[in-house]
Structures are given as structure tokens and as C-alpha cells.
């Protein structure tokens, strides 16, 4: 008998062990199912196709941001700037269309490039400057927002080409396009994090930077790329946000989105200390927040009180997932 088998056979029974594994991996899904069942009982209209579609559409922008956020949090970092990056990219997109009269596709490309660029800057400040992610992205949060505000004098830029609004408002195969985009990016994120070498490296750097470096992983590249991904998801969020109203409000677009995204990631079971977490968890974290605010609206609970519930859910989620 080796020491390894001794330590591993400590748990009382296979049944309990299986239960623990299931709970560790899927507790957020259980929580989601319970919440949906509760919502269905509380309000008969909750399960209407129209309502479900509505929930999904409402969560799609923050959902996309949360997927990018998952990358940097598993990496052991955080990105407080996504809300402002969304506003900045949105401003670039609308300015390209309105002021420079560029074609829609080009404005979108420019918006995505803007998001990626701010992500690169975040990554550089964190790696080269050796500044903690919290502070580096806090600075980016105020800078990106400030630039957007300055450009539009704190006002809104509205587009004139109504075909642009299609992205945010129309359906494909009965599903809102923003939801399809959210789904597509979810699958992509899943593949990158779970199935690629790069994804492994994100987990390794987040889990133990020293060991990752000594295993010949370029911590520098992995970090930069993760923040670029986060920046790009913010820019994709900007595309949907601007397209829904064919307008960007430099003062309110993306405001506080970073906190919702971080909340969804945490509810999804990703550890803020890095190295641990799953993108599937984030998906359900997003859905839990969406269903929660939807059911409270259906029950006519004051929107001002909904923050209390959200806050309690975050605490409960972390307590439930606490291990070791």
C-alpha cells in the first residue's frame, strides 16, 4: 500500500465521494435548476417562450463580457475596465459610422480593434509594469470612459443607417441575434479554455506562475492574450449595445457592467485567486443573475431592492462553493 492510496481512500464511501464531486462540479447548475423551478411556481408566465427569450436577450451583453472576464480571473487577474472599454469601442463604432461615414462592417472591425488594443495595453501594464491587475484595469476604466466622454461631450452619438440595428434587434431561426452571438462566443471560449494548449496555460499561470514559467510557458504571452480576449469581448458587447438603439451613450453605456460580469464569474464558481474555474459555471452564473432579475420584475419587486438579493446570492454562492 502506498501513501497515495491511503490518502485517497480517506473519504467514507464511493457514493459520498461521487456526490461531492458532482456538487463541486455542478453545484451552480443545481442552483440554476432550483431557481428556475422556483420562478416557474412563483409566476405562471415565467416559462413563456417570450419571457425566456427576453431573459436570454437581456443577459447576452453582460454574458459575453463575463466569458472574457472568466479568462482573466482564471489567470489570477481581473478586468475592471470592461464597462468602459465597451463605451469606448461603442464610441469608435458610432463615430466611424456617423462622423466618418465608413461602412458598417468596417466600423465593427474598428470597434473590435479598439477593444483588443485596450486589452493589449492592460496586459502590458500588468506584465511589464508589474502593476496588479486590479490597479492597472482600474486606471484603464477611468481612462477609456473619459476618452469616450470627451469625444462626445458626455452625450450620445446616434447612427442613421437603420440596417445596423438589425444585429441587436432581429431574430435568426426564432432566436435573437445577440443570444446567438452569446452562444457562439460561449462555445468558442469553452473550446479555447478546455481544449487548447493556450487554455491549459491560462490555468497553469493562474494556479502557480512560478511553476508555469519553469515549465517553459511564456507567462508574458499568456497574460497579454488573455486581456486581449477580455477586451475583444467588451467590444463585441459594444456592437450589440450600440446596435440595439443605434446609438451609444458615452456616459451610461456599459456603466457597472464590469461588476455584473465579475459577479457572474464568481457565482459560476471561478476562484478569484486564479487557477480554478470553468466557463460552463460562468454561463450558469450569467443565467442565474438574469432569471433572478426577471422573476423579481415579474413579481413587481422594486428594482432598487434587487441589488440586495443579488448581493446575497453572491455571498451564498461563494459560501456554498468553499472548499478545502
Amino acid at each position: 500500500m502506498s501513501a497515495a492510496t491511503e490518502t485517497e481512500s480517506k473519504s467514507p464511501s464511493t457514493g459520498m465521494r461521487l456526490g461531492k464531486v458532482l456538487w463541486d462540479q455542478y453545484s451552480v447548475i443545481f442552483a440554476f435548476v432550483v431557481l428556475v423551478a422556483l420562478a416557474a411556481v412563483l409566476n405562471e408566465h415565467f416559462l413563456d417562450i417570450g419571457n425566456i427569450t427576453n431573459v436570454l436577450r437581456q443577459v447576452s451583453i453582460v454574458g459575453i463580457l463575463s466569458l472574457g472576464m472568466t479568462f482573466v480571473i482564471i489567470l489570477g487577474g481581473i478586468d475592471l475596465s470592461v464597462g468602459s472599454v465597451l463605451a469606448f469601442s461603442g464610441t469608435v463604432i458610432m463615430a466611424a459610422q456617423v462622423t466618418y461615414e465608413l461602412p458598417i462592417w468596417l466600423s465593427i472591425v474598428l470597434g473590435l480593434v479598439a477593444g483588443a488594443l485596450l486589452g493589449i495595453i492592460n496586459g502590458f501594464v500588468i506584465t511589464y509594469g508589474k502593476i496588479t491587475a486590479f490597479i492597472a484595469t482600474l486606471a484603464m476604466m477611468t481612462i477609456a470612459r473619459s476618452l469616450a466622454l470627451y469625444y462626445a461631450d458626455a452625450g450620445a452619438i446616434s447612427g442613421f443607417d437603420s440596417s445596423y440595428s438589425k444585429i441587436g434587434n432581429e431574430y435568426m431561426a426564432g432566436i435573437p441575434i445577440p443570444v446567438l452571438i452569446f452562444g457562439g462566443i460561449f462555445i468558442l471560449s469553452y473550446v479555447v479554455l478546455e481544449k487548447t494548449v493556450f487554455g491549459r496555460h491560462i490555468y497553469a499561470v493562474g494556479g502557480n506562475t512560478q511553476a508555469a514559467r519553469l515549465s517553459a510557458i511564456s507567462v508574458f504571452k499568456v497574460t497579454i492574450l488573455s486581456y486581449v480576449i477580455c477586451g475583444i469581448t467588451a467590444a463585441i458587447g459594444a456592437v450589440i449595445e450600440t446596435s440595439r438603439l443605434n446609438s451609444i451613450s458615452t456616459s451610461s453605456s456599459g456603466h457597472m457592467y464590469e461588476l455584473d460580469a465579475i459577479a457572474a464569474v464568481i457565482i459560476g464558481g471561478t476562484s478569484l485567486s486564479g487557477g480554478r474555474g470553468r466557463i460552463v459555471g460562468t454561463l450558469f452564473g450569467v443565467l442565474i443573475l438574469g432569471v433572478l432579475s426577471n422573476i423579481m420584475n415579474l413579481l413587481n419587486i422594486s428594482p432598487y431592492l434587487q441589488g440586495v438579493v443579488k448581493g446575497l446570492i453572491i455571498i451564498a454562492a461563494v459560501l456554498l462553493q468553499k472548499r478545502d
Partner: protein
Amino acid sequence: MILEMKGISKAFYGVKALQDVAFDLRKGEVHALVGENGAGKSTLMKILAGIHAPDEGEIVLGGKPVAIGSPHQSQKLGISIIHQELNLIPHMSVAENLFLGREQTIAGLFSNKKGMVSQTKHLLDQFGLKLNPNELIARLSIGERQIVEIAKALSMDAEILIMDEPTAVLEEREANQLFELIRRFKRQGVSIVYISHRLHELKGICDRITILRDGRHVTTTELDGLSEREIANLMVGRELKEMYPVHSGEIGEELLKVEGLTRSPHFEDVDFHVRRGEIVGFAGLIGAGRTELMRTLFGDWKAERGSVYWKGETVRIRNPEEAVKLGLGFATEDRKGTGLVMEMNLTRNMTLANPAKISRWNLIRSRHESRVVMEKIQEMNIKASSPAAPIKNLSGGNQQKVVIAKWLVSETELFIMDEPTRGIDVGARSEIYNLIVRFAAEGKAVIVVSSELPELLGLCDRIYVMHRGRLKGELSGEEANEQNIMAMATGL
């Protein structure tokens, strides 16, 4: 006799760290405690400091048997330990650090800064310490910080002071100041346990010496009667066991040559070479610069100067990626800190350093990966519930095998192993030795850094000995024995 420890035994997870060890201390005595790494010195002192509880044995303090249940209790009994890594808060002043946790107040509310400063001054004066009580710790040298730590112990009325390798971090001048202090404490009746690897220091300051080996008490005697050579012999006097497989691989061409590699203050002007088929050892005491040398060679740290030749060509290794591309592998000394990602499972840890082998177009081929991993698990006899088992559930020996497997999965030609068998049991040890020998026999090469001399002697074709950042010499064949290595390593 102020302190007596009798029949002390202590085991960690079934491994006996101390067996029936005796130790005593007279009032006003400086008592040297020596032994190889892992001999049990630190464990014994941690028992005295209340950090570990002994499994068996008795501690008698000032004539009364005591049970020391916590570090706090140990302090109350007048025992203070000065750790190698100092526990001071850098942006607070000397006086603030001295009274940390025992701040004096006026009316229970306001900090009595003046009072603390003047008391600190009084204390420092009493022992002839020249320090400004208002100076920030961050502005002090390592030596001065150590003095603050000692003053802190004395301010708590310590009667027994344990110093764990106090001079390891000091320069010559600072060390001499410390010795002067120790003599003064002695005259004032403080008893000191002095742990050190630097045997030449002991003569000037210590009265008696206790030698431990493999967790057992070898002898306690007056220091006067012993030469340094005799102490070294008593420390290591062991026989080689049949643990080491026969290594008779053919030695081939030169794989690595290092010339004048320097990174002060860690190591200076290091020259060595490794040939195919060779197992080359690096001996030395802790702090001799061996680990730092290897990390620099592997590109983790920057060298100040020096040249590295790989297969006869000059190379510059700027980071671990470049090292691995050349064919180097590095199993670090600290499994948990730098070897493994504890959040990840066995499989992922094992394939971390060589993604190319298990992926195509950056996509991981899961089935191929599990085949590669299963092969290694069987080949190396790794015990785990499954290839997906969390790495932290494995025993130390099995974790170490994963660290090594990580580099066997890669195309490693020169395998650097830093303390490959630290803290693992005999069975896993001998398996790792077999692996090392097999690896070298394939025409590759291994560098083994180890603090365990029998291991180096049993495995290596040649052994380099380092002392305080410099290569003191190279031993092989008949010359390579524990006494010669110990003599070089202690700078005799």
C-alpha cells in the same frame, strides 16, 4: 542546567524525524547544534519553540517538567527563536517592531510612543547595540535587522535564545559583530543554542556541541576536544547502502559547458561541463548558490556574465522556453512552490512542459494525451486513483515522480534535478535513482543537486562542490568521499 530534553521522538506521517534525542543547556552557555540537512536540528528546536509537539519525551525547564503547547507559551517560558527569515515589519520603526503586539498606551488609548522609544533605547544601550529606535526597519541592513530581532527576544526576557544559522545571510563584518554580541549575552547569563553549518565559526563562540544524524543523537561533548574534521566525520559517518543501481554508461561528447557564469551575490565565476551519459553532482551547503546557479542556467534568472556552450556552440538562454527548446529539463527543489500546479490534476501537470507532444494546431488530443500519461504512470509506477486525480491527493513521492515525468515526456537531453528525493520515502527514492541511471544510460545527461552526500556519492560520476557561491573543486573516483566533500563544502 537550565534546560533538559530527554528521549524526544517525533514522526511526521510515519517518517521518523527524531528518535530518542537528548539535549541539554547550561546557564550562560553557547551550545552548538550541528548535523546534515534533515538530521533533525530544526525539528528539535521547533519542539522547544512550541511549533511542534513531541510524540514522546520530556522537557525539563529550570528543574520543572513543562509541556510547551504553543509558540506563545514557549515565549512566556523565556525561550525565543531567531528564524532565518526575519519576522519584522519593514515600514515600521525599530521601537514599533520591538513592542509589536505589546504596545504601551497612555490611559489605555493613546500610543505611548515616547515611553517605547526610551525603553528601546535603554535596552539597546544595555547590550551595547548601536541603533536608532526611530529608524525604519526597511532602512536597516540584514545584519542590523537580525540585531533588532534579537533585541526583541531580549525585551521579552528571553533566557534561552535559539539561533538558526544566523550568519547564513550576514557578511563577514556583520558576522563578527554578532559573535561579539553573543559573547556579551553569555556574560549576562543568556543561554544560546547555535545552529550552523559553518563549522569554523563554532570554535570561537561555542562551549559544547551536540551532533545529530538521521534523527538520532550522536554525541554531546565539549567543543575543545574536537577538530572541525572530526565534527564533519561525526556528522556524515554513514555507510552507502545498496540503494544505488550500477551506473556504467558510456561517456560521450560534451553536451554542456559553462564558463565564468556569475550572478552576484549568489555565485561567481563558475566553470563546469557535462558530457553525454554522465551523472554530475553538485554538493554544497544550503545557501552555497547551487539552486541559483541552476535557475540561471535554465534561463529563469539573468546571469551577469559568463558563457554557456550547448553541444559545442555558444548559446544564450534568456528564459526557460529557450532552455527547453535546446533540450534542458529542470525538476525544481520545491515541488509545491515551483514544480507543480497544485490546482491541476496529474495528467495536466505531466504534460505541462511539452504541449507539442499532445496537441495538433494548439488543440489538445485528449486520447493521445491519456495514452502518453498512462504510459508514464506505468513506467514510473506512480500510485494514483486515476490519471485525472488532483495532484494534491498524491503522496510526496508520487508527486515527485510526476515532476520528473513532466520532463521525460519532453525531449529532454540534459536533466537538471534539484534535490530530487527531498522528503520522500525510501521506496520512491530508489525508483527515482533507477530512473536517473537509466536516463543517463540512454546517452543523455543528468545534473543532480543534492544536500544528501550518500545520494551524490552513490549516483554521480563526478561531483562539483560549491562553497559560498564559488566552485571549490571537482571530485571523482577515490577522492569522492563524504569527508572530502564536507571539507570543501564547509570551506576548510
